[in-house]
Amino acid sequence: MQLAVELPERTNALIESYSRKMGLDKNAFIEEALLSHLQALRELPTEFIIPNRIILSEEGMRQVLDLLENTPEPTEALKQLMNDE
């Protein structure tokens, strides 16, 4: 069976890089990755898997970038939390 997927350039580059390092061709590498993921899905209900990527809307990502560039001062509650013995 053949699957056609559209991947971002970065993901494709990572697949190329890791499959080369592991001495696998891309087909074998992708199949192994899929099998590992399917095994995790079999063993853990989806709601208990912690996906490592959070996808935001464009607006949400801009909000995050703004927060990183114009970092808000810590709130009193945060300062108290981080410095209480």
């Binding site: 853990l44 990527r53 996808i55 935001l56 809307s57 607006e59 995050v64 970038l65 927060l67």
Partner: protein, 149 residues
């Protein structure tokens, strides 16, 4: 109930079998009084190419996630949840120093959102709304600035 179930059945599998996160336990009186599960992650826009500008590189941003946090009913009201959050934020600072982290994202249940907002967490607009949990973000610089030198 869901958090009990996660802790009893899946926290260990997540950590030791699939390496999806690490669960820290807060023990009191020889019992588990609370726990927090954290994991490294990344944050991206649905279409990254549409958003990135000169301010940031064209790849997802590394973050630390507070994925699950709970305190046993018998130990609530003692500030243990705060202790778990505090330790998690200190771990995020270590992550930033070790291999990069722009901030912390917490998966907060609706009833906990106000607690995190008081600490300065913001809710960036998600790609898809989730009625059961909100993803709240706190920038690393804000965390670092909150710690007295």
């Amino acid at each position: 109930m869901e958090l009990d179930f996660f802790f009893q059945q899946y926290a260990g599998q997540n950590q030791f079998r699939h390496y999806l996160g690490v669960t820290y336990i807060l023990a009191m009186e020889n019992t588990v009084a609370g726990f927090v599960t954290i994991s490294a992650g990344e944050m991206a826009a649905a279409d990254l190419s549409s958003i990135m500008d000169v301010r940031f590189p064209n790849y997802p941003l590394p973050i630390m996630r507070i994925a699950r946090l709970a305190v046993d009913k018998n130990f609530q009201g003692l500030g243990l949840g705060k202790k778990l959050v505090k330790n998690s934020l200190h771990l995020a600072v270590k992550m930033k120093n070790g291999y990069g982290c722009v901030g912390v994202v917490v998966d907060a249940k609706p009833e906990s959102v106000a607690f995190y907002q008081k600490l300065g967490f913001n809710e960036p607009k998600p790609n898809k709304e989730n009625a059961f949990s909100k993803k709240l973000f706190l920038a690393m610089k804000t965390i670092e600035n909150s710690i007295s030198k």
